[in-house]
């Protein structure tokens, strides 16, 4: 598994798209830092980008990588290697290369502007952590979808649909639900609802870290009480990791049953 991971990782790290992806983060973050000297502002702007882009790119990359490396996968399958190690190794290589792009692309400009000397170091770490976890989650989901669907178009469509659901539609439904039931106390309900969406969960974790939580008044207080506490942090991190682990198990299970 390690060998396959190493192979896919270096293969991907040398690919043009990884450079473009990392380059985009680098230029964006550098540009923001040059325009505004206020690090907390840049962290907020980067948050907006990371929360949209990390899942989207991970989804696209995941599906694309699976379909493109199909011949190589078939070659590997003919060797005496365990199926689970082939697919887990490929997935880990993909997710790690995406994470490295993010860490390098967004990390270097922040380091250049001295983030660790400032009070934003914690927020910056949370931002990168969320970006990495989101990359893993969406790479796993898209890998699972690709593995399940032989048809490329169908796989692509489904993966994008899942991204769209979690990034946009889920929030829309949540908003509708909240305004529908606004006569009831909804703090706890919205807290539970946001746990079921990794993008929302990371966004709220970050927003509470940043100073905006005061805007959320009562709702924010409930969130802060939960997510600020030890159990809250543990639960939210655990939920995020679950979001990555469940599709990985799906991949492992699926690849055993799959007929190539």
């Amino acid at each position: 598994m390690l060998k396959i991971f190493k192979y896919s990782f270096f293969d991907l790290v040398r690919s043009r798209w990884t450079y473009i992806y990392a380059g985009f983060y680098f230029l964006f973050t550098l540009g923001m830092l040059m325009l505004s000297s206020d690090l907390s502002k840049v962290v907020i702007s980067s948050m907006n980008v990371v929360l949209i882009l990390c899942p989207l790119i991970a989804t696209m990359f995941g599906v694309m990588y699976y379909y493109n490396s199909r011949e190589f996968t078939e070659l590997l399958l003919s060797q005496p290697i365990k199926r689970t190690s082939i697919f887990t190794g490929q997935f880990l290589g993909l997710a790690s290369s995406l994470s490295v792009s993010l860490l390098v692309g967004a990390g270097i400009p922040f380091l250049m502007f001295g983030v660790f000397g400032s009070d934003q170091a914690g927020n910056f770490m949370v931002l990168l952590f969320n970006g990495v976890v989101l990359s893993f989650i969406f790479a796993a989901i898209s890998f699972f979808i690709a593995l399940k669907n032989e048809d490329k178009i169908k796989g692509f469509g489904l993966a994008i649909l899942v991204w769209l659901l979690l990034a946009v539609v889920y929030d829309g439904i949540l908003l509708l639900g909240l305004s529908w039931f606004r006569d009831y106390p909804l703090e706890k309900a919205s807290l539970i609802a946001s746990v079921f969406n990794p993008i929302d969960l990371s966004r709220i974790m970050l927003l509470l870290k940043l100073d905006i939580s005061a805007l959320m008044s009562l709702t924010g207080a409930v969130y802060r009480k939960f997510l600020g506490s030890g159990t809250g942090i543990f639960v939210s991190v655990a939920v995020l990791l679950m979001w990555a682990i469940v599709p990985i198990f799906g991949i492992r299970k699926m690849c055993l049953r799959r007929d190539f």
Binding site: N48, L174, L175, L178, R182, D200, A214, M216
Partner: protein
Amino acid sequence: MKKQFSTILFLFYLWLPFATGNTIVVCPTCEVETIADGVKLANECDTVLVKKGVYEENNILIEKNLTLLGEERPVIDGKNSGEIITVENKYFYIEGFRIQNVGRSYVEDRAGIRIRKSTQFTIRNNEFVEAFFAIYLQNSSKGLVENNLVMAQSQDEANSGNAIHAWYCSYLEIANNVVKGNRDGIYFEFVDNSLIHDNLSQNNIRYGLHFMFSDNDSYFNNEFVDNGAGVAVMYSKFISMKNNVFRENWGAASYGLLLKDIFDSEINYNKFARNTIGIFMETSNRLNIRENEFSENGWAFKMSGGNQTNILTKNNFLHNTFDLSVHSAGSDNTFNGNYWSDYAGYDLDKDGVGDVPHRPMKLFSYVVSSTPEAMVLLRSLFVDLLNFSEKVSPIFTPENVIDKTPLMDPLPVFGR
């Protein structure tokens, strides 16, 4: 008129300390050892000069007209057992003391210096430390409170006092004071025709300035920083608020400036920075809000119900999360001629005024005002899309919340 009055008052204050009769010296090694004895010995219009030292005294009652001068800042320590100086006379001057440890009480409002039913008093250059109510003015008029420093470490509202507390007074001037860590920094109730200027009010657990049922007052050049709920101005009319700075009043229930039932007032040249809500306004009419700067607030300007005929013009709105939130439509408030940092229109004829009207109220701020829990969706992609589509074709946001002549460039900011 007001200016003339304050000039006359000022000249009067200057003359007052020198116009007294004999001088009685009080010091720990003198013939007169306590301030209370000094006051007892003094005749009308005498001066009591207190030399350096610590005087552990309470309940000094001054019913004569006299001047109390501290040399090298003598300390009057109340030992937490009651009010320190109570004044009831025609005129009174106190300068140069440090007054400390009044002690809190749940039954009475103990004060460092209480001025009761007096006229023509001056409280200047004193320091108050843990003084519960530091300066308490009641039923008095024509007074100057100047250059005082009030420090306290209040924990909660129930067992703390106000720094400068005025009740049923008129013609006061509160200037150049620094008040920190009290319940309310400056408290006005039924105080008319008074001036509050050049004060710094910081870290007070309730309001930096609390203003109730007080008409024809003016406050300017003050700075209100990091107070529990900012500044509250309520049930008053003809108030002028100019050149003040309201900043970092940040928290779940914080405002820069809270206006409730305010009529016919001017709010000009103020700066609101990094407050949860810059201005919150409720049932206020005929206010003229112009040439203020709102930057980096959560809500720059929030209007609750029942506001009419208010004019909001020539203000700078810079990078607030929400520029404007209006609860109910159908009012005749106007929002024309402001600069909005998120205005995206163009100016073909280069006259500095955008050709496309600006709708400063985002759909999301409308949604949040009806469903506060929706705030959890702040900064999500869906909300951005929602705001964008509403901006292109407005359906939900009130029709008349519109700036027909948005400015292309921010207005020059005033001096501070």
